[in-house]
């Protein structure tokens, strides 16, 4: 019997954590019971993108895209859709714009505006099966490079393509390859930087989980081009699924003669080893990463000499980010002109982003460079949920900056983002709405970076915690206007004098929020007001006398017993001193009688209360 349907069940980490495995098992059981196992095949794929809606699955050839699938739904899907050909409407992705049921995957705006190059196979093939990868033109680029291209031709096509490092700094990849190729050393190394540490970023993880062979193929092509014989994939130990799939992929590639000794019988040999990082953000910096692979403490080293000249074990080393590796095979296969036809003049190609925060469609997206922030956030991301107002978007994670609404039409490329005081970064994109306090956001990122500083150089090790002290002072209502100058001074000084990229970028969230949201800093200092009502020292909870129905639910739920009152006799009253501002009363009140105050009114009341 011929195969009729392919059911692609997403098994990216987000869907796995929303129990996609149980869905798969239930489906497989139902398919068996209905005697369809010869006609329908279940494929576990990598991340499909819309993580918020998981577990998701896609049925081919009709393209029905199911979201929030539960194991209980399996019987209905099999009966209705697989047997009778009627997709289960209630589980299909509902387009929020058109208010109609969207059936085909292509029609969904989330997918329609994306251009998938690096993520082409993610969500389409089974990452644990090399044959599926090969069926999708896998290892064709390697074959082409090894048999039809000279080493310098490979480097030339990468140079001509204009590909720039996707780790964030945007260094021309071809140039880097050229440096390593012309460096002399007994052994040369190729390294994949998979130490993805930004809060809210999961691009590298998704690619390694969803299509590990793409990275392996890219590295092998590079090894041939620069004359390297050994490769390392440095990946965080916190990514067990990616590590597992990588190991499987490496084993399969070796078995097929695509990795190891005498690759494709061309006489070229190259092998890759996986090294796990212990979860230090600084190890994403290339010299610290090298130190870590060598078994040393993960701290940055003096550059120059650059790794291209003296890197891993003192040998010329080519380090690229996971996503950069993901581009290689497509460029080799389709040529530099094809690659340049996507994206912009100075930033060709696509970029993968991990869209998160206050946006309807959070998840993994790939867009052509040059798309505006607005298109990405509002068209693909679906805008801000719950009718809230957009406030800012943070690109580049803790090293990046917050971009306000007036720059939403800025095209996404390396230079434009840098001009705004943000950076492209590795692809984290966190959207913030009016409920986010920008001072608190800056504090959050600085907490992260000062925690992750390696401690080697003075400005980063001691400067970042001092900036954090000042921010804490401001968010607790004890800041002065002089603090703003001091923050600015310190931030600029740390950027100028730090040892490595961590310190040189860590003040960006503070400096960019100071630049675009100085009003909020002023309010915190002068009016003791947090307009987003986030900074707990500057807010107070009140029960509205008229709205309170004295049901007592707030008092029962208050974890510290700060609310008193008599059943049926409004109003209940919150004891200001005892209240820990957890917001539970606000959440549980059925009558919307609890309000949050911040600013003058709140302080006035506080003063009266303390009399």
């Amino acid at each position: 019997m011929t195969r009729r349907l392919d059911v692609l069940v997403c098994s990216g980490a987000a869907c796995v954590s929303s129990h996609s495995a149980a869905v798969r098992d239930a489906l497989s059981r139902e398919i068996d019971e209905n005697g369809l196992s010869n006609e329908i095949r279940i494929v576990e794929t990598g991340c499909m993108g819309p993580c918020e809606l998981g577990p998701v699955m896609l049925v081919y050839p009709d393209g029905a895209f199911y979201i929030h699938v539960k194991p209980e739904d399996a019987a209905e899907i099999v009966q209705e859709h697989f047997l009778k050909g009627r997709p289960v409407k209630r589980l299909l992705w509902e387009d929020p714009e058109a208010r109609r049921i969207v059936e085909g995957k292509k029609q969904i705006p989330f997918f329609a505006k994306q251009v998938k190059v690096v993520l082409r196979n993610c969500g389409r093939i089974d990452p644990e099966n090399i044959e599926e990868y090969i069926a999708a033109d896998g290892y064709e680029a390697l074959g082409k490079a090894l048999t039809q291209m000279a080493r310098n031709e490979v480097i030339q096509v990468i140079t001509d393509s204009g590909l720039r490092g996707r780790g964030g700094a945007g260094f021309p990849t071809g140039k880097k390859w050229q440096f390593v190729a012309s460096a002399t050393g007994e052994t040369k190394y190729v390294v994949c930087n998979g130490d993805e540490g930004d809060p809210g970023a999961f691009m590298d993880r998704s690619l390694l989980e969803g299509d590990p062979h793409t990275v392996i193929e890219g590295m092998t092509i590079a090894a041939y081009a620069v004359g390297a014989s050994r490769g390392y994939i440095y990946i965080r130990a916190e990514y067990p699924l990616a590590i597992k799939r990588l190991q499987i992929a490496l084993g399969q590639a070796r078995k097929m003669g695509l990795l190891g000794e005498n690759i494709l019988e061309t006489g070229f040999s190259f092998d890759i080893e996986v090294r796990m990082g212990a979860g230090a953000f600084v190890c994403g910096e290339e010299t610290a990463l090298i130190a870590s692979i060598e078994g040393e403490r993960g701290i940055a080293r003096v550059r120059p000499p650059y790794p291209a000249v003296r890197g891993l074990f003192g040998m010329p080393t080519l380090i690229n980010n996971v996503e950069t590796w993901g581009n290689i095979r497509h460029i080799v296969l389709n040529g530099a002109d094809w690659f340049r036809s996507i994206g912009t003049e100075r930033s060709p190609g696509t970029k993968v982003f991990a869209l998160s925060g206050k946006v309807k469609n959070t998840g993994l997206v790939e867009i052509p460079m040059g798309m505006t922030l607005r298109e990405l956030i509002f068209d693909i991301g679906g805008g801000i949920p719950n009718g809230k107002k957009f406030k800012a978007v943070q690109t580049g994670g803790p090293s990046g900056g917050c971009i306000p609404e007036k720059y939403l039409d800025t095209p996404i490329d390396y230079e434009s983002l840098k001009e705004l005081g943000a950076i492209m970064g590795s692809g984290g994109m966190i959207v913030m709405d009016e409920d986010n306090c920008m001072v608190n956001i800056a504090k959050f990122f600085l907490e992260f970076t000062s925690d992750e500083s390696c401690g080697q150089c003075v400005p980063c090790r001691t400067g970042l915690p001092r900036m954090l002290d000042i921010l804490k002072r401001i968010t607790s209502g004890n800041g002065t206007m002089d603090d703003l100058d001091l923050l600015q001074h310190l931030g600029e000084m740390i950027i100028e004098t730090s040892f490595c990229g961590l310190g040189k970028t860590a003040p960006n969230p503070v400096l960019s929020t100071l630049k675009y949201f100085e009003d909020e800093y002023r309010e915190h200092i002068e009016e003791k007001k947090c307009r987003a009502k986030v900074c707990t020292d500057l807010i107070a909870y009140r029960i509205d006398e008229d709205a309170c129905r004295a049901c007592g639910i707030c008092a029962v739920n208050c974890p510290v017993g700060a609310i008193t009152g008599e059943l049926g006799k409004p109003p209940y009253i919150i004891d200001e001193e005892a209240c820990i501002r957890c917001g539970t009363c606000l959440e549980v009140c059925p009558f919307g009688a609890v309000h949050v105050l911040s600013g003058e009114l709140c302080n006035q009341d506080k003063r009266e209360g303390s009399k």
Binding site: A280, V282, R297, V302, P304, S450, D451, E452, S453, C454, G455, Q456, C457, V458, P459, R461, T462, G463, L464, P465, R466, D469, I470, R473, L486, H489, L490, M493, E496, T497, S498, F499
Partner: protein, 232 residues
């Protein structure tokens, strides 16, 4: 060896290829403040005091090798400001109270503060509560005075060859440790040579039995030792 021509504070000088900016400046009698650097030990560029301006970019002179045609500025208002703020950050990080310190008047950190005209500290003090290890029969390590310059680590590894000292932890949790974080008194690799005491720029590693301002140090012993070894 090949000579390289550079311009330092407007003056054209030539120096052997492979020299650092700091070495050339010293030869020319141009003062650049240093703290983690010590003649005779490798350079790590940790303290950032020796920063200079190379074509508008701030680099550490101890780790930057000269290149043909390089334009170096060793002193400017901006450099002075950056160095002073950097020094303030060192003072604010731990508990540097000179009057009660055995190294008072013999302290490189204190000297730098005087030289750079640091009159007050603008940034908030951290006032951490740190430990003091007096388990060694002759010496004490007081973490409160440590500036993590790493001289003890380097002298122990590069000159004594004992590898007792190391650095553990990251960010503001970073500490110098003996062996794998055991008490100094239990560190079997320690030869009790006291080189770490002599090179420590502050009152962090000191001899026992010294009262305030009594601890004089001789970091120049590293160069003397090296010279003697080379002449042997």
């Amino acid at each position: 060896m090949k000579e390289i021509l550079i311009r330092i504070d407007g003056k054209e000088v030539s120096a052997p290829a492979g020299s650092t900016i700091l070495e050339v400046a010293k030869q020319q009698g141009i003062p650049i403040p240093t703290l983690c650097h010590l003649d005779g030990l490798s350079d790590i560029g940790a303290c950032r005091m020796c920063i200079v301006d190379v074509g508008g970019k701030i680099v550490t002179s101890c780790t930057t090798k000269i290149a043909e045609g390089m334009e170096v500025i060793t002193n400017s208002d901006r450099l002075a400001e950056l160095r002073r703020l950097n020094l303030e950050l060192i003072f604010a990080e731990r508990n540097h109270v000179c009057s009660m310190c055995v190294s008072n008047n013999h302290c490189e950190l204190q000297d730098l503060a005087c030289d750079l005209g640091m009159q007050h500290v603008e940034v908030p003090y951290a006032y951490p509560r740190l430990s003091l290890d007096a388990s060694h029969p002759k010496f004490i390590i007081d973490q409160n005075r440590c500036i993590l310059c790493g001289r003890c680590v380097r002298v122990c590894a590069e000159v004594e060859g004992a590898h007792v000292w190391g650095i553990a932890g990251r960010g503001s949790e970073a500490r110098v440790i003996t062996e794998l974080g055991i008490d100094w008194g239990d560190a079997e690799m320690c030869t009790d040579c006291g080189k770490c005491v002599q090179v420590c720029p502050t009152g962090a590693i000191v001899e026992k039995g010294k009262a305030a301002a009594e601890m004089e140090k001789h970091p120049e012993l590293v160069t003397t030792l090296k010279e003697r070894r080379e002449n042997d």
